[in-house]
Protein backbone atom coordinates (compact mmCIF):
# COMPACT_ATOMS: atom_id res chain seq x y z
CA UNK A 1 0.00 0.00 0.00
CA UNK A 2 1.30 3.42 -0.92
CA UNK A 3 1.59 5.69 2.09
CA UNK A 4 -0.39 8.93 1.70
CA UNK A 5 1.63 12.12 1.74
CA UNK A 6 0.74 15.15 3.76
CA UNK A 7 0.64 18.41 1.83
CA UNK A 8 1.24 21.44 4.07
CA UNK A 9 1.82 23.93 1.28
CA UNK A 10 -0.17 27.18 1.74
CA UNK A 11 -1.59 26.07 5.08
CA UNK A 12 -1.11 28.71 7.75
CA UNK A 13 0.49 27.15 10.78
CA UNK A 14 0.70 29.17 13.99
CA UNK A 15 3.46 28.08 16.37
CA UNK A 16 2.97 29.49 19.87
CA UNK A 17 6.19 28.71 21.71
CA UNK A 18 7.88 30.94 24.31
CA UNK A 19 11.42 29.88 23.41
CA UNK A 20 12.63 31.48 20.19
CA UNK A 21 15.23 28.75 19.74
CA UNK A 22 12.74 25.89 20.04
CA UNK A 23 10.31 27.76 17.84
CA UNK A 24 13.03 28.02 15.24
CA UNK A 25 13.61 24.25 15.43
CA UNK A 26 9.90 23.55 15.00
CA UNK A 27 9.72 26.03 12.13
CA UNK A 28 12.62 24.22 10.47
CA UNK A 29 10.87 20.87 10.83
CA UNK A 30 7.69 22.26 9.30
CA UNK A 31 9.69 23.72 6.41
CA UNK A 32 11.15 20.27 5.89
CA UNK A 33 7.61 18.86 5.72
CA UNK A 34 6.84 21.30 2.91
CA UNK A 35 5.19 24.09 4.88
CA UNK A 36 5.68 27.62 3.55
CA UNK A 37 3.42 29.69 5.84
CA UNK A 38 4.47 29.52 9.47
CA UNK A 39 3.74 32.27 11.98
CA UNK A 40 5.54 32.32 15.33
CA UNK A 41 4.35 33.93 18.54
CA UNK A 42 5.99 33.91 21.97
CA UNK A 43 3.04 34.64 24.26
CA UNK A 44 -0.70 34.24 24.54
CA UNK A 45 -1.46 37.93 24.08
CA UNK A 46 0.27 37.93 20.72
CA UNK A 47 -1.50 34.65 19.92
CA UNK A 48 -4.88 36.29 20.48
CA UNK A 49 -3.85 39.26 18.37
CA UNK A 50 -2.86 37.02 15.46
CA UNK A 51 -6.12 35.09 15.69
CA UNK A 52 -8.10 38.29 15.33
CA UNK A 53 -6.34 39.45 12.16
CA UNK A 54 -5.24 36.29 10.40
CA UNK A 55 -6.94 33.07 9.34
CA UNK A 56 -5.05 30.17 10.87
CA UNK A 57 -5.31 26.55 9.73
CA UNK A 58 -3.68 24.82 12.70
CA UNK A 59 -2.30 25.91 16.06
CA UNK A 60 0.73 24.26 17.63
CA UNK A 61 0.84 25.63 21.16
CA UNK A 62 3.05 25.12 24.20
CA UNK A 63 1.15 24.10 27.31
CA UNK A 64 3.02 26.70 29.38
CA UNK A 65 2.68 29.58 26.94
CA UNK A 66 2.90 32.71 29.09
CA UNK A 67 1.03 34.42 30.58
CA UNK A 68 -2.24 32.49 30.27
CA UNK A 69 -1.04 28.98 29.37
CA UNK A 70 -1.81 26.88 26.32
CA UNK A 71 -4.84 25.15 27.83
CA UNK A 72 -6.53 28.42 28.75
CA UNK A 73 -5.97 29.52 25.16
CA UNK A 74 -7.42 26.25 23.88
CA UNK A 75 -10.52 26.67 26.04
CA UNK A 76 -10.85 30.29 24.94
CA UNK A 77 -10.73 29.32 21.26
CA UNK A 78 -13.21 26.46 21.72
CA UNK A 79 -15.65 28.29 23.96
CA UNK A 80 -15.92 31.61 22.15
CA UNK A 81 -18.96 31.44 19.93
CA UNK A 82 -18.94 33.22 16.56
CA UNK A 83 -15.22 32.62 16.38
CA UNK A 84 -13.95 31.48 13.00
CA UNK A 85 -11.16 29.52 14.64
CA UNK A 86 -13.43 27.59 16.96
CA UNK A 87 -12.84 24.23 15.26
CA UNK A 88 -9.22 24.58 14.13
CA UNK A 89 -6.96 21.67 14.99
CA UNK A 90 -4.93 22.37 18.14
CA UNK A 91 -1.79 20.40 18.90
CA UNK A 92 -0.49 20.98 22.42
CA UNK A 93 3.24 20.62 23.14
CA UNK A 94 4.05 19.57 26.68
CA UNK A 95 7.37 19.02 28.42
CA UNK A 96 5.39 18.00 31.46
CA UNK A 97 3.57 15.02 30.04
CA UNK A 98 2.02 13.74 33.25
CA UNK A 99 -1.32 12.03 32.86
CA UNK A 100 -3.10 14.89 34.57
CA UNK A 101 -1.65 17.39 32.08
CA UNK A 102 -2.56 15.25 29.09
CA UNK A 103 -6.10 14.74 30.38
CA UNK A 104 -6.47 18.47 30.98
CA UNK A 105 -5.38 19.13 27.40
CA UNK A 106 -7.87 16.63 26.07
CA UNK A 107 -10.66 18.08 28.19
CA UNK A 108 -9.77 21.63 27.15
CA UNK A 109 -10.45 20.63 23.54
CA UNK A 110 -6.99 19.89 22.15
CA UNK A 111 -6.85 17.48 19.24
CA UNK A 112 -3.61 15.91 20.36
CA UNK A 113 -0.65 16.32 22.69
CA UNK A 114 2.95 15.96 21.61
CA UNK A 115 5.67 15.37 24.21
CA UNK A 116 8.72 17.58 24.25
CA UNK A 117 11.51 17.24 23.19
CA UNK A 118 9.95 17.06 19.74
CA UNK A 119 11.40 14.92 16.99
CA UNK A 120 10.65 15.34 13.28
CA UNK A 121 9.02 11.90 13.11
CA UNK A 122 6.90 12.58 16.20
CA UNK A 123 5.67 15.91 14.84
CA UNK A 124 4.97 14.52 11.39
CA UNK A 125 2.98 11.58 12.75
CA UNK A 126 0.77 13.75 14.92
CA UNK A 127 0.09 16.28 12.17
CA UNK A 128 -0.60 13.46 9.78
CA UNK A 129 -2.93 11.81 12.28
CA UNK A 130 -4.91 15.04 12.66
CA UNK A 131 -5.05 15.46 8.87
CA UNK A 132 -6.18 11.96 8.00
CA UNK A 133 -8.41 11.19 11.00
CA UNK A 134 -10.96 13.99 11.29
CA UNK A 135 -13.05 13.72 14.43
CA UNK A 136 -16.57 14.86 15.02
CA UNK A 137 -17.09 17.81 17.30
CA UNK A 138 -19.17 17.72 20.45
CA UNK A 139 -21.04 20.73 21.76
CA UNK A 140 -22.47 20.45 25.26
CA UNK A 141 -22.99 22.87 28.11
CA UNK A 142 -19.62 22.00 29.60
CA UNK A 143 -17.51 21.06 26.59
CA UNK A 144 -16.91 22.15 23.04
CA UNK A 145 -14.26 20.34 21.08
CA UNK A 146 -13.25 17.21 19.24
CA UNK A 147 -15.05 14.07 20.35
CA UNK A 148 -12.93 12.71 23.16
CA UNK A 149 -14.22 9.21 22.52
CA UNK A 150 -12.09 7.97 19.69
CA UNK A 151 -9.82 5.14 18.89
CA UNK A 152 -6.32 5.26 17.46
CA UNK A 153 -6.20 2.45 14.93
CA UNK A 154 -2.65 3.34 14.01
CA UNK A 155 -1.15 6.41 12.47
CA UNK A 156 -1.58 7.06 8.79
CA UNK A 157 1.10 6.09 6.33
CA UNK A 158 1.16 2.57 7.66
CA UNK A 159 2.57 3.52 11.03
CA UNK A 160 0.99 1.50 13.78
CA UNK A 161 1.28 1.79 17.49
CA UNK A 162 4.72 1.36 18.84
CA UNK A 163 5.66 -2.00 20.30
CA UNK A 164 5.93 -0.73 23.85
CA UNK A 165 2.60 1.11 23.85
CA UNK A 166 0.30 0.02 26.61
CA UNK A 167 -3.04 0.86 28.09
CA UNK A 168 -2.90 3.78 30.49
CA UNK A 169 -4.70 3.71 33.78
CA UNK A 170 -5.77 6.94 35.36
CA UNK A 171 -3.32 7.82 38.11
CA UNK A 172 -2.72 10.47 40.73
CA UNK A 173 -1.88 14.06 39.78
CA UNK A 174 1.80 13.67 40.51
CA UNK A 175 2.24 10.52 38.47
CA UNK A 176 5.21 9.87 36.26
CA UNK A 177 5.58 11.55 32.90
CA UNK A 178 4.19 9.61 29.97
CA UNK A 179 5.84 8.39 26.83
CA UNK A 180 4.29 9.59 23.58
CA UNK A 181 2.58 6.24 23.04
CA UNK A 182 0.95 6.49 26.47
CA UNK A 183 -0.23 10.03 25.69
CA UNK A 184 -1.86 8.79 22.50
CA UNK A 185 -3.50 5.96 24.41
CA UNK A 186 -4.78 8.33 27.07
CA UNK A 187 -6.41 10.40 24.34
CA UNK A 188 -8.14 7.24 23.15
CA UNK A 189 -8.93 5.80 26.58
CA UNK A 190 -12.48 7.08 26.85
CA UNK A 191 -14.05 4.64 24.45
CA UNK A 192 -12.70 1.66 26.31
CA UNK A 193 -14.22 2.90 29.54
CA UNK A 194 -11.01 3.76 31.33
CA UNK A 195 -11.83 7.39 31.77
Amino acid sequence: MTAPSMNLRDLVILVAEPSSYISMLIHGMLRGFGSNKVIEVRNSNHLLQVLTVQKIDILICDVRLPPHGGLTMTRAIRNKKDNEHRTIPILIMAGDSRESTVKQARDAGANMVIAKPISPAGLYERLSWIAFNPRKFVDTESYFGPDRRFKIEGYPNGIGRRKGDKVVEVAAESGPTLAQGDIDNLFSAVRTGQD
Binding site: S5, L11, S19, L25, T140
Partner: protein
Protein backbone atom coordinates in the same frame (compact mmCIF):
# COMPACT_ATOMS: atom_id res chain seq x y z
CA UNK B 1 -28.55 14.39 18.68
CA UNK B 2 -27.34 12.67 21.79
CA UNK B 3 -28.44 13.30 25.35
CA UNK B 4 -25.71 14.86 27.47
CA UNK B 5 -25.30 13.89 31.10
CA UNK B 6 -26.65 17.23 32.22
CA UNK B 7 -29.93 16.51 30.50
CA UNK B 8 -29.15 19.07 27.79
CA UNK B 9 -28.93 18.06 24.15
CA UNK B 10 -25.38 17.32 23.05
CA UNK B 11 -24.80 18.40 19.51
CA UNK B 12 -22.41 16.15 17.64
CA UNK B 13 -21.39 17.23 14.19
CA UNK B 14 -18.80 16.52 11.55
CA UNK B 15 -16.12 19.09 10.86
CA UNK B 16 -13.77 19.12 7.95
CA UNK B 17 -11.29 21.89 8.52
CA UNK B 18 -9.26 23.61 5.85
CA UNK B 19 -6.21 21.95 7.37
CA UNK B 20 -7.65 18.51 6.78
CA UNK B 21 -8.89 19.33 3.30
CA UNK B 22 -5.64 20.84 2.07
CA UNK B 23 -3.28 18.48 3.87
CA UNK B 24 -4.84 15.58 1.98
CA UNK B 25 -4.25 17.17 -1.42
CA UNK B 26 -2.07 15.41 -3.94
CA UNK B 27 1.46 16.65 -4.31
CA UNK B 28 2.49 16.40 -0.68
CA UNK B 29 5.92 15.40 0.53
CA UNK B 30 6.14 11.64 1.24
CA UNK B 31 6.62 10.88 4.92
CA UNK B 32 10.19 9.59 4.77
CA UNK B 33 11.31 12.44 2.57
CA UNK B 34 9.54 14.99 4.78
CA UNK B 35 11.24 13.66 7.90
CA UNK B 36 14.64 13.51 6.18
CA UNK B 37 14.21 17.12 5.04
CA UNK B 38 13.19 18.14 8.58
CA UNK B 39 16.35 16.52 9.95
CA UNK B 40 18.37 18.36 7.31
CA UNK B 41 16.80 21.66 8.42
CA UNK B 42 17.74 20.90 12.02
CA UNK B 43 21.29 19.99 11.02
CA UNK B 44 21.62 23.41 9.43
CA UNK B 45 20.96 25.21 12.73
CA UNK B 46 22.95 22.76 14.85
CA UNK B 47 26.27 24.65 14.50
CA UNK B 48 24.65 27.67 16.18
CA UNK B 49 23.69 25.59 19.20
CA UNK B 50 27.03 26.11 20.99
CA UNK B 51 26.73 29.86 20.89
CA UNK B 52 23.10 29.84 21.99
CA UNK B 53 23.80 27.26 24.71
CA UNK B 54 26.70 29.35 26.09
CA UNK B 55 24.45 32.40 26.39
CA UNK B 56 21.64 30.45 28.02
CA UNK B 57 23.99 28.72 30.42
CA UNK B 58 25.60 32.03 31.37
CA UNK B 59 22.17 33.54 32.05
CA UNK B 60 21.13 30.52 34.08
CA UNK B 61 24.36 30.56 36.11
CA UNK B 62 23.93 34.29 36.77
CA UNK B 63 20.37 33.76 37.99
CA UNK B 64 21.47 31.03 40.34
CA UNK B 65 24.52 32.91 41.61
CA UNK B 66 22.43 36.00 42.31
CA UNK B 67 19.88 33.92 44.18
CA UNK B 68 22.62 32.28 46.21
CA UNK B 69 24.05 35.62 47.22
CA UNK B 70 20.60 36.80 48.24
CA UNK B 71 20.17 39.08 45.23
CA UNK B 72 17.75 36.89 43.33
CA UNK B 73 14.84 38.77 41.77
CA UNK B 74 11.31 37.64 42.55
CA UNK B 75 10.30 34.95 40.08
CA UNK B 76 13.87 33.79 39.48
CA UNK B 77 12.83 30.16 39.96
CA UNK B 78 10.27 30.52 37.20
CA UNK B 79 12.85 32.11 34.90
CA UNK B 80 15.40 29.40 35.72
CA UNK B 81 12.69 26.82 35.00
CA UNK B 82 12.01 28.35 31.59
CA UNK B 83 15.70 28.36 30.72
CA UNK B 84 16.17 24.78 31.92
CA UNK B 85 13.18 23.56 29.94
CA UNK B 86 14.38 25.12 26.73
CA UNK B 87 17.86 23.65 27.27
CA UNK B 88 16.30 20.22 27.84
CA UNK B 89 13.95 20.42 24.87
CA UNK B 90 16.38 21.87 22.36
CA UNK B 91 19.15 19.45 23.38
CA UNK B 92 16.66 16.60 23.10
CA UNK B 93 15.60 17.58 19.59
CA UNK B 94 19.21 18.03 18.50
CA UNK B 95 20.30 14.71 19.99
CA UNK B 96 22.55 16.00 22.79
CA UNK B 97 21.37 13.41 25.27
CA UNK B 98 23.62 14.21 28.20
CA UNK B 99 22.62 17.88 28.19
CA UNK B 100 18.97 16.83 27.87
CA UNK B 101 19.37 14.52 30.87
CA UNK B 102 21.03 17.11 33.12
CA UNK B 103 18.66 19.93 32.14
CA UNK B 104 15.70 17.59 32.63
CA UNK B 105 16.97 16.69 36.07
CA UNK B 106 17.30 20.40 36.92
CA UNK B 107 13.73 20.96 35.66
CA UNK B 108 12.49 18.39 38.18
CA UNK B 109 14.17 20.23 41.05
CA UNK B 110 12.89 23.64 39.98
CA UNK B 111 9.36 22.30 39.47
CA UNK B 112 9.41 20.77 42.94
CA UNK B 113 10.44 24.16 44.37
CA UNK B 114 7.65 25.85 42.42
CA UNK B 115 5.31 23.24 43.90
CA UNK B 116 6.31 24.30 47.40
CA UNK B 117 9.38 22.27 48.30
CA UNK B 118 12.30 23.96 50.00
CA UNK B 119 14.85 25.60 47.71
CA UNK B 120 18.09 23.67 48.02
CA UNK B 121 20.70 25.85 46.29
CA UNK B 122 23.41 23.19 46.37
CA UNK B 123 21.27 20.85 44.30
CA UNK B 124 20.76 23.58 41.68
CA UNK B 125 24.43 24.58 41.65
CA UNK B 126 25.63 21.05 41.07
CA UNK B 127 23.33 20.81 38.05
CA UNK B 128 24.68 24.06 36.63
CA UNK B 129 28.22 22.70 37.10
CA UNK B 130 27.17 19.49 35.35
CA UNK B 131 25.80 21.51 32.43
CA UNK B 132 29.09 23.43 32.18
CA UNK B 133 30.89 20.08 32.04
CA UNK B 134 28.47 18.66 29.46
CA UNK B 135 29.03 21.70 27.28
CA UNK B 136 32.56 20.51 26.51
CA UNK B 137 32.78 18.73 23.14
CA UNK B 138 33.96 15.44 24.64
CA UNK B 139 31.10 15.17 27.13
CA UNK B 140 28.46 16.61 24.83
CA UNK B 141 28.81 13.65 22.52
CA UNK B 142 28.26 11.17 25.33
CA UNK B 143 25.04 9.49 26.35
CA UNK B 144 23.90 9.52 29.99
CA UNK B 145 24.70 5.83 30.45
CA UNK B 146 28.29 6.51 29.47
CA UNK B 147 28.81 8.69 32.54
CA UNK B 148 27.02 6.65 35.22
CA UNK B 149 28.74 8.32 38.18
CA UNK B 150 27.48 11.70 37.07
CA UNK B 151 23.95 10.64 36.17
CA UNK B 152 23.44 8.44 39.24
CA UNK B 153 24.75 11.25 41.41
CA UNK B 154 22.31 13.73 39.92
CA UNK B 155 19.42 11.26 40.29
CA UNK B 156 20.31 10.88 43.97
CA UNK B 157 20.31 14.66 44.39
CA UNK B 158 16.90 14.97 42.71
CA UNK B 159 15.48 12.16 44.82
CA UNK B 160 16.87 13.72 47.96
CA UNK B 161 15.45 17.20 47.42
CA UNK B 162 12.13 16.18 45.90
CA UNK B 163 11.23 13.29 48.20
CA UNK B 164 13.03 14.57 51.26
CA UNK B 165 12.58 18.32 50.79
CA UNK B 166 13.66 19.39 54.25
CA UNK B 167 17.04 17.73 53.88
CA UNK B 168 16.58 15.49 56.90
CA UNK B 169 19.15 12.72 56.96
CA UNK B 170 17.54 9.31 56.62
Amino acid sequence: MTKAKTGQEARIFAVETRFQKLARRDGGVPRDKAIAQAHAEIEQVKPDFDQWFDIELRELAALVNNAQSGEGKPGWIETAGFRSRQLRDSAGTLGFELIEFIAGSLCEILESIEAGNECNMESILCHVDALILARQPYYRALQPEQVPELTKGLRRVVKHVTINPLGVEK
